[in-house]
Subunit: 422 residues, 2 copies
């Protein structure tokens, strides 16, 4: 059982318990894991008062610390939010189980059947700063994919996170999960994180979810493989053959529909052969919607009223109603620009030219590359993955939205009937 | 062009050149890459005398340093070995190109077609100790998969490696590869490796090929993701339902056919219900073939003549005609033993029981898990991958034999016709 007191425990002990849990999780039937997730959801619903009482301690401490209203709102758990967390657990239970899936089977000339089986990674550490619901989401996705998880939430949510993790582990164990499948580091002490990041013999993967400085600290300190989730400085390139109406619709959606998220567009490139027509039109629409447009020299020759963009602008994830605009002489110039300045998260081309679409897809070195669609679709749910634990900007193991499959590894499996090597 | 003098160059400059090369490689047609590999092979054949002259410098230095005959033999390049390297390049050219492959395409309810495209990883650093042919093999696999490569070979092969890399890069460039697609660090200075391992902004992946201490140094120092290739302490478990003739044939092959390689069997577990019959029989065959058998207590109760195995024996990759033997009371005991003591490389069960076969496949936490086949099949070629750059004992990105596909990443691609998110 997770220790729910605030007594400091050695993270190495937690990791050893997690490793024992992982061995048990790896051989559970899907229905056992699903039943456990349902039991966790029931437990949340039955424990609303206790959860709110723990959350109230965090809110009181936050008010004392002078957190602003938005931060306090992110921290707050009410009946509706607790119900939503329970609902999210049930949704994860309803997804297909990735563990045990056999694929890529081929028969070799000697009769060996060689293929792969997906398997849980083992023990995953998740380090996060944000809302308490990450405790439930991340815990559920790890358990569903057969992994034991060690959670480390933000200090401002310690009481809320602690009760949520404890309820999950208790309800899970009562429904057949190994104890310690879900653990939360029960202290806000920074040294516990540093200890965790050196446990490469016990923990298989670290996923940091949070700001750039958190992720950089984790990469610097960790001897465990890390999957990073960096910024989304997303580009749209309007090719010379673009349908201008489609381009306008997509740009307005990508910039304005929800500007504060990582898959919102931050920078726009327009092919010079259509810039004198298209740039004034889209700038007008953007300004009408409250967007500040900052242009490069070529853009400002066409629309001199806009502010000047610096090189830094083209590297910036504003998360706000600001847009940098550049004019480029060719598709390849756009590709080069994006590969140099975007954050390799999600970039989209608007074009009617098939060769240009395929060249953009091939040459742009980003996690998600789109043709004729809003960058806002970069999301595990929108991609049909049913969920996501984040959007990896790394190239190894998982790139782009990470779903349950990305929380597994594979092993080669071989079915023989006595083959030997000669 | 690769600098083929021994003048120290900043590895960071090499890495910047490699990154530029990688952008060019990512958009090359398969036939260009294949033509380049053929040109490299031709160049090797045309440069036999120059290669042998460079190799002679390494051999002379090796003799002076007192390398033993086996080490000098590993280092030596003769006409036959140079021809074999050229042939290996042609074989890589003949493989399917993994880059650009589109897969997992699905159509979403809004009409978006969402899927994935394989893409080169970018810049790969390979650090190796062994024979000069690794220069050719690793360079070819990286180029074929669209990656630029920075090679760092062992100091004892510096002259051989330098000329091979230079010939590859020159021949490749003459056939349409970007210059600096294949570079070799032209110094034996250790500080160059340490510099390389910190260039996480320029190099995407490090693959160390060599002994444990080399790999551990790389993991400790690197801020770049590393795919490790550790030992092969491979197990075979003979289940109570095993066909004893099949078990004997497989065990003799796995232990004796080539004992010095990572997929040779090092440890044998036998189910106690058949141990009193099977253990004496297999021990006799093994001893007849010159194998020293070291048994646990239960094994020595059955065959007291064999030496005692320590716990360390069951963790050891002998790479020699030595075998540790244990007797276990159940399938689950065998699984637990293997998960604790094997090196998670390749483990095999001999059984006639379907449930036991499937449980072993699911529960054993190793890169390769076999049913009724010799561990010696753990190999990219035997698995039908056409080649391998090594056998990963890591769980992330690549696990088990790494072929061309494992030298790529993926990106999500989306084909839309104007979709926006609502």
């Amino acid at each position: 059982m997770t220790d729910n007191s605030n007594t400091p425990r050695h993270v190495a002990d937690m990791a050893r318990q997690a490793r024992a849990a992982a061995a048990g999780l790896a051989v559970l039937k899907p229905e056992t894991k699903n039943r456990a997730l349902e039991a966790m959801a029931d437990k949340f619903t039955a424990s609303i008062d206790a959860i709110k009482a723990a959350n109230e301690k965090d809110l009181a401490a936050g008010r004392e610390k002078g957190l602003n209203a938005a931060m306090l709102d992110r921290l707050a758990l009410n009946d509706k939010r607790i119900a939503a967390m329970a609902q999210a657990l049930r949704q994860v239970a309803a997804l297909d189980d990735p563990a045990g899936e056999i694929y890529d089977m081929k028969t070799r000339p000697n009769g060996l059947r060689v293929g792969r089986m997906r398997a849980p990674i083992g023990v995953i550490g998740i380090i996060y700063e944000s809302r308490p619901n990450v405790t439930a989401d991340a815990g559920a996705l790890c358990v569903k994919s057969g992994n034991a998880v060690i959670l480390r939430g933000g200090s401002e949510a310690i009481h809320s996170n602690t009760i949520l993790a404890r309820l999950m582990d208790e309800a899970g164990a009562s429904a057949g999960l190994p104890p310690d499948s879900v653990q939360l580091i029960p202290t806000t002490d920074r040294s516990a994180v540093l200890e965790m990041l050196k446990l490469n013999a016990l923990i298989d993967l670290i996923i940091p979810r949070g700001g750039k400085s958190l992720i950089e600290m984790v990469v610097r300190e960790s001897t465990i493989p890390v999957i990073k989730h960096y910024d989304g400085n997303c580009y749209i390139f309007v090719d010379e053959s673009a349908d201008p109406d489609m381009a306008e619709t997509i740009i307005m959606n990508a910039k304005c529909q929800r500007p504060g998220v990582c898959n919102a567009m931050e920078s726009l490139l327009v092919h010079e052969s259509i810039a004198s027509e298209f740039a004034p039109r889209i700038i007008k629409r953007l300004i009408e919607s409250g967007v500040e447009v900052r242009g490069d020299e070529a853009a400002r020759r066409i629309v001199p009223e806009i502010n000047a963009a610096t090189e830094e602008d083209f590297r910036t994830e504003y998360l706000d109603l600001i847009l940098s605009l550049g004019v480029v002489p060719s598709l390849d110039a756009a590709i080069g620009w994006i590969n140099n300045f975007s954050s390799h998260h999600t970039d989209s081309i608007i074009t009617r030219d098939h060769d240009n679409a395929m060249r953009f897809l091939t040459a742009v070195d980003s996690s998600c590359v789109f043709v004729n669609a809003s960058t806002r679709f970069s999301d595990g749910g929108e991609f049909g993955m049913g969920c996501e634990i984040g959007i990896s900007t790394d190239k190894l193991h998982a790139r782009g939205p990470m779903g349950l499959r990305e929380l597994t590894t594979s092993k080669f499996i071989v079915f023989g009937d006595g083959q030997i090597r000669t």
